[in-house]
């Protein structure tokens, strides 16, 4: 398993990177953590002529608070997400879920931005971004623009990014006070992608649901937000019966691809299980 040869570029700034992507055109690929791209190249499914390595652009890494916003650099690694005190305090879903991604070594290389920009419905961050109402900052030849997560994922391996765009940051807001959260991921073994996974963020007000997000991983061509399921719980005092109804609504929008992890029926049923368990866990943490 040997990758084909290519020209290697290592820009020091985002502008330089965008300039390279613009001048090199569609034969160039961005190298972030490399744990999706390099295996694809080794299998010669991907044969880019140029790799633009954005690992050494300092402005792309790290987490900062800007006003109400929490800005996560796209090249922040999964392990950095797990360890980050700001995220653990304000958006604890992200560090908790990141622990379920790949394995310790891969999490040192894999980045939140790479996970999102790849457009792979099996990746975990797209559903997490939907659950956190994230906004993507994208820089292209025309400058920066903001794209909400809800408009970012267009299809399998298809996002709102153009060939000469770079995803530079993911911006989220702190969870409402007392919000509960959960990410339940069924997988065959450590390092695997989800057979089915569900992220839930829930806040209560006077015992009824004042904020709810239910999103799904690897259960359709993109990550999915289960609006109908949310509607079942929104404003309600949650009961087991309502959780079951919400799960059914979520299952109704699942459109998973059959693979070795299971057929459509199984994955859809597992979506129901993960949704129920994630809601229950999130509620148990909400106060």
């Amino acid at each position: 398993m040997i990758p084909p040869n290519f020209e290697y570029h290592r820009p020091a700034t985002v502008d330089e990177a965008v300039g390279l992507l613009t001048s090199l055109g569609s034969e160039a690929k961005i190298l972030a953590g490399g744990h999706s791209l390099l295996p694809m190249m080794k299998l010669r499914f991907a044969m880019p002529e140029h790799l633009v390595d954005i690992n050494r652009i300092p402005e792309l890494s790290g987490v900062s608070v800007v006003g109400d916003d929490i800005v996560i650099g796209a090249m922040t690694t999964e392990n950095a997400v797990i360890a980050d005190p700001i995220l653990n305090e304000k958006v604890p879903l992200l560090p908790e879920a990141a622990k379920l991604i790949a394995d310790p070594q891969v999490r040192n290389r894999g980045t939140i931005g790479g996970d999102i920009a790849h457009g792979d419905p099996a990746n975990d961050h797209p559903a997490l971004a939907l659950a956190c109402d994230a906004v993507m900052t994208v820089v292209g030849p025309e400058g920066a623009r903001q794209i909400p997560a809800s408009e970012f994922f267009l299809g399998t391996y298809w996002t709102a990014l153009n060939d000469d765009d770079i995803l530079t940051a993911i911006t989220v807001k702190a969870f409402p006070n007392g919000a509960g959260f959960s990410y339940r991921k069924l997988k065959r073994k450590t390092g695997d992608w989800a057979t089915a996974a569900c992220a839930v963020v829930v806040a209560l007000s006077g015992g009824s649901v004042s904020h709810i997000r239910i999103t799904l991983t690897n259960l359709g061509p993109t990550a999915i937000r289960a609006h109908d399921a949310e509607a079942v719980l929104s404003g309600q005092t949650v009961t087991d019966e309502l959780i079951k109804q919400a799960a059914e609504k979520a299952m109704a929008i699942c459109d998973p691809a059959e693979d070795l992890r299971g057929d459509v029926e199984y994955k859809t049923a597992m979506a129901g299980q993960m949704v129920q368990r994630a809601i229950a866990e999130a509620l148990s943490r909400a106060n």
């Binding site: 040997i2 084909p4 040869n5 020209e7 290592r10 490399g34 310790p104 070594q105 290389r109 390092g191």
Partner: protein
Amino acid sequence: MAKQIVKMTLNGQQIEQLVDSRTLLVHFLREQMNLTGAHIGCETSQCGACTIDIDGESVKACTHLAVQCDGSDVKTVEGLAENGVLHPVQEAFYEEHGLQCGYCTPGMLMRSYRFLQENPNPTEDEIRTGISGNLCRCTGYQNIIKAVQSAATKLQDNETASA
């Protein structure tokens, strides 16, 4: 395709080498630097036999380009013992029978070495998770876990002794 110059610190030595853009770090180490401790098991970043340490983090060298290490501090299993003295994780793997065929061992050692700096006093479950990026076909992990526990104790004893 153009060759690239990489400069790095490799097991404490400054080196400067010419590599192809596409040269994988594990091949660079094994074939260009003759450091054959890091092994190739799966080539798709599951097995961890190629685990080394780059700038204080465990990395799978099969899914990393040599050229990306320019300016980095790289440590392989060959650099674990210092001045002929085995590192406590090496001693512990030997004493607890934490290896059989030895093929996963350099990766396991390098991961354990780094893991115990991340978490000096781990529980059994934390060890299992901490080495979950490394596959072993021989030991069933049970004695590897014992070895990591033993190494943790040794490292803490060393710390106490030097404090």
